[in-house]
Symmetry: C2
Amino acid sequence: MGDSLVTAPSREERILGIIETARGKRAKFRDERITMAHGAGGKATGSLIEGLLAPAFGMSELADAALVDDVALTTDSFVVKPLRFPGGSIGELAVNGTVNDLAVSAAQPLALLLTFVIEEGIATEILEAELRAIAEAARRTGVEIVGGDTKVVEHGKADGLYVTTAGIGRADPRARLSPRSVRPGDQVLLSGPIGDHGITILLARGEIDLEADLRSDTRSVYPFVEAVLDVAASGLRWMRDPTRGGVATALNELARDSGLGIVLHEEAIPVREAVRGACELLGLDPLHIANEGQFLAVVAPEGADAALQALRSVPGCEEAAEIGEVRTEPPAMVLVETSFGGRRVMDQLVGDPLPRIC
Amino acid sequence: MGDSLVTAPSREERILGIIETARGKRAKFRDERITMAHGAGGKATGSLIEGLLAPAFGMSELADAALVDDVALTTDSFVVKPLRFPGGSIGELAVNGTVNDLAVSAAQPLALLLTFVIEEGIATEILEAELRAIAEAARRTGVEIVGGDTKVVEHGKADGLYVTTAGIGRADPRARLSPRSVRPGDQVLLSGPIGDHGITILLARGEIDLEADLRSDTRSVYPFVEAVLDVAASGLRWMRDPTRGGVATALNELARDSGLGIVLHEEAIPVREAVRGACELLGLDPLHIANEGQFLAVVAPEGADAALQALRSVPGCEEAAEIGEVRTEPPAMVLVETSFGGRRVMDQLVGDPLPRIC
């Protein structure tokens, strides 16, 4: 997965190479065709967005959410396969995913618009089930569905249903979030166990001979974000929901954008046994697996404990944990410290182990 | 196309039936499967949106744009086939289409976010060409691209590229638009010739043995809307960009929502010869054909002339015309008066003559 042990002296050269590549460099796009890896949320997606999309639009990066005055806007497409899976469905994901993009921008989610690209021939009841899932998720989340649109494409030109959600929220005036405001000594908080969504989807496809009692974690993280804002808004530096590419990819982007090092304590990272087992069998790292109901927060040291206690007091967030800290060294990299005292570089996701996860 | 002569006495019964159906009734959804007609923008799309989507979300209809304070939000997906066509491409359409949804809501377009569903294997240069088209259209229109996202699906699960655009604009405080503010005596203005986009796409597919010197009309209509707002904001009642389903479908929705009759003067409606000829050959009505660079405005009689003069003074809008007026009778219907004094009911689009037009 692109990880490498930095404690082994014989690998110093290689590691220096990695540091050189990682340090503030933007990915270039050199592929002649688009592959599934470009959709996996890791390195290839980064090169597509930073090497192709952002330069085309005259930007250094493509933000998840944009601000006009105090109104935050975000949009995301959902192409998850299968449409329904233990713990959720594409419709629920489309609501929660967009709500979470707003939440981690410290914006209170207010309203959603949805567009559907529907494959000709799909049974009306499948569409109806997703409309109900959307309505219920919106109700639970307290956002209003205010509009939308549909397109239909010929049989074989989509895979049942693709959903795109645009969301608006109101930016919380208490928060000032930016990778550039992150400082050495800041603490990294995580809202709960990682990898549930990605592994659930993988197993739901039935392509792997493995069973586990696991459900997607799809939910709104806004109540948790709100709890942190209430007690530690002034110390809150950065938030992100680690979806495609997982915690490792989100934190690698933070490390690169802040120029700082992030050290994770492996034993502090909550991972369910079923996820850990599936990852071991499949050669995956839970830190690379997508989540749909968790978020990461970097908090100044003086606010971190209060933020963690506040998080844990919200039902559904009891397993929140302080999983690491920001350091000066190594610049622009993420390291994982194991319980045995070893350290390894945790790169972002490379390749495409989990296509169409959201 | 569902039209019928109301001047012929022998058809009175049938016409009464149509009036009964049209008057304020919302479409129900009774189909077991989704068909291409549900994506064509006419009657079947209406039944999908009003009979399935809107009720699921507890609404009577799904708006094109929503307001939060004075910030307008809109979103739309684009699945046009082919990706490039005379006069434009999917990327340009994705910018202009969303800009136009904002414009006809009397909102100044400010910023866009784009998401791409990309088919695995598509050549990078195809994607790059669309990114350039998007950037150029945004520059011409004066909107900023502020964010976006990408998803990749397997080969055969999309058709090259689908684009969804979310846009924000600032609502113009001078305008108060609603179908319910439309009054008998109001004039119907149209910004220019109709049907160019739909017929261009139809011919670009090469499935019909017909050639014509025709280009899509894709463009931002905001400069034209602005011109009307500058001279006649207080008299401006309603605007719409007649895309899928054409002028007839847009005006039928207005007739239904206002409960009033709309009478169009056929000879006043600008239609290029190439469009008229293609429509005659194919048995289509130009009033049902999609436009991507025109808009309809209903203006109070005292402001209509000023609005029309203002429109015509903007380069590209010289062919703007007053094409009809609002009357008390027949309620909730659109009639077309021919130059020979005949009248026919102009229903919304039925069936699917033009799939994937935008």
